[in-house]
């Protein structure tokens, strides 16, 4: 078989050589493997942010890609190290909820606990850097064609740790299609766009607006629909409703944060906003 692609995601940052060393550990096993960085700037120990980025990226890689994700506050303790097979690829990670975004969108075909130390870099791994000593080598072996059941002991995918997304609530008139949807901000990106937990399909084919921080913003198709500096909402490239500013930073303008509540008003509903 041909080689599989590897991606890396971590909270290691780019100031130390941790990421480079993981790539070295992969190259020591198979120098022909190709590695793509998803991001290494996940805030330290922030499993929720890692969960979101991994879920957002997963569908955009070739079938069979091996994703290695290391945000691992429990490293060296009792949390399991796992590898999971999906229709679209493999995930190698600590079992701490990191994978649960992908799991919410795609069923696991099989899962193993990484107990076979002959596939690790060393049978005596560091107690603080399993990325180098366990996850990267396992990913390199999987990408080189080793099968999942060789690198660990089969476990029930139903036992994988879940980190569920907060649910959004719909209050929609079933006949007129009008109403409200309430959700929260689940991510703020580099541009200051506020990405909610409400999927874009709830507004498809409707007139809509968003209320957040006491301000009502129109539902648009793209940033350029309004003049620069205008607040607006749209269906973002991740598929979720997001709030942005044309050529600006919605996060700075609205002073909202992760978990802040937002309300979508569907169609010609008149909102009742305190200013």
């Amino acid at each position: 078989m041909s080689l599989r692609l590897i991606t890396l995601l971590s909270d290691f940052g780019l100031s130390d050589s941790y990421v480079g060393v993981m790539k070295g550990a992969i190259a020591q096993i198979n120098p022909a493997l190709k590695v793509i960085d998803l991001t290494h700037n996940i805030p330290p120990q922030n499993i929720a942010a890692a969960r979101f980025q991994l879920m957002s990226a997963f569908a955009y890689f070739p079938k069979g890609t091996v994703h290695i994700a290391v945000v691992d506050p429990g490293v060296g303790s009792v949390r399991r190290a796992i590898a999971v097979e999906f229709a679209n690829g493999f995930l190698v990670a600590p079992d701490n909820g990191l994978l649960s975004g992908v799991l919410s969108q795609s069923p696991a075909i099989a899962a193993v606990e990484l107990t076979k130390s002959n596939y690790w870099r060393t049978a005596e791994p560091s107690s603080t850097f399993h990325g180098r000593d366990i996850f990267a080598p396992i990913g390199a072996h999987l990408a080189s064609g080793v099968s999942l059941n060789k690198v660990g002991q089969s476990i029930d995918p139903g036992t994988l740790v879940q980190l569920p997304l907060p649910e959004y609530r719909c209050d929609i008139d079933p006949i007129r299609g009008t109403g409200k949807v309430q959700g929260v901000i689940q991510m703020i990106d580099r541009f200051g766009n506020l990405i909610t937990n409400i999927p874009g399909n709830v507004v498809r084919g409707k007139q809509w607006s968003v209320i957040a921080a006491g301000i009502q913003m129109p539902g648009c198709n793209t940033y350029g629909d309004l003049p620069p500096a205008s607040l607006l909402a749209l269906v973002g490239s991740h598929g979720w409703i997001e709030i942005g500013v044309n050529c600006g930073d919605a996060s700075a303008k609205l002073e909202l944060d992760y978990g802040s509540e937002i309300t979508i008003i569907l169609q010609d509903q008149v909102s009742n906003v305190d200013h």
Copy 2:
């Protein structure tokens, strides 16, 4: 033909998975393609900074390299998406002036507007992430050997949006070769070096100095010509006159910014500076 190299430049930053997803979209088309990052830390929506970095890097890649540049405040609106062929390679970008630095140094051989959606990732691209849905796929096809005229409709390169660099002004005695050259700072790099819009050849073979922020600094060959912490000017690696500090940060020391004026004094001219 063998595969062409791809480079990526954007304002996506490295905290989200946007860049990784663009690489995934490329790998979905052709996993054998090699991708090099120019930079993804262009300040958000700053076309002028992107223009400079792209112009600075263009000559240092193998012939045929496909450069994908996405700083795209007009994404989803009426701005054109384009691909341009040069003697040294291809540029794929929004038509917003981003390419005009390269265009100022190298003529376009041909240009197309990216209208052929069968070469996109999807015929219904996101309205906010053409990097993933249009530019990366087009770049991947070009790098895999698809010809320019297949991926879009031919347009006149003369119609490409220009973002001209401010001009520098020479006031030089044609006989003695002495005089002044006035310009501005067009870029500040990571070291705090202030890169002007004056090409290095105006000082070749001459004694010269620079006046900026009311301070006169000698024209040198390299940082080490003066003791650490000394302000000096030299011809930088980009080919422009720049102001730097040996082992220090000229930007912090002089409190100058993009667009600040500087004057070059050629030969034995005596300057008249207010302190």
Copy 3:
């Protein structure tokens, strides 16, 4: 022979295209070469930090890897440009102490001064960017199979500039094995972990604790040995004693910096700490 891997380390940051341009210069020589970034966020001109990262990463790459390291405050002045061969790989760098961490752990087999300009990008290199014009091209040639003695003039490895690590001091009872070890912090990583200059083997098989900033912290095996937010010490993945906080930032909590003193107490010694 098959191609060797290349790594890059620099203080160029990721906001400019300097790193991309070095990769372009490598690809112009041999587009098939594979390049891995160690880090480009070494603080500007900080040779000591670069020395540490290079030393930490060196052992984790395949035999024959060519490491190009460019932290080069003396660029364009009299410092030598060198390439050094080790059992495990090659280092290409300015001769300013950058390599001395690796040299402290692994003997040099041979060294050359990079005097053969036919292996540079140009015989007239920029006076400020030898990374692009000398180091990257030399690394690309070495990785493509050119032998060390072709790219420069042989020099005595004993003449390479050394930047010695501060020494740690042991005051240990030779019979009971108890006592003190005094050292300093040599690196602070992205997580705020304080990495000392004391190798982990001094505490092997012993009960131990660390005193720093007037606080005594237990010697543990991993972060999870204590509840979140607890200060603790352990043998880090680099092999040195380090101080960390479970799910937190020890650097912020203790307000210690590079060079701050720390003391290790071995076994059942009772410490005498001023609070």
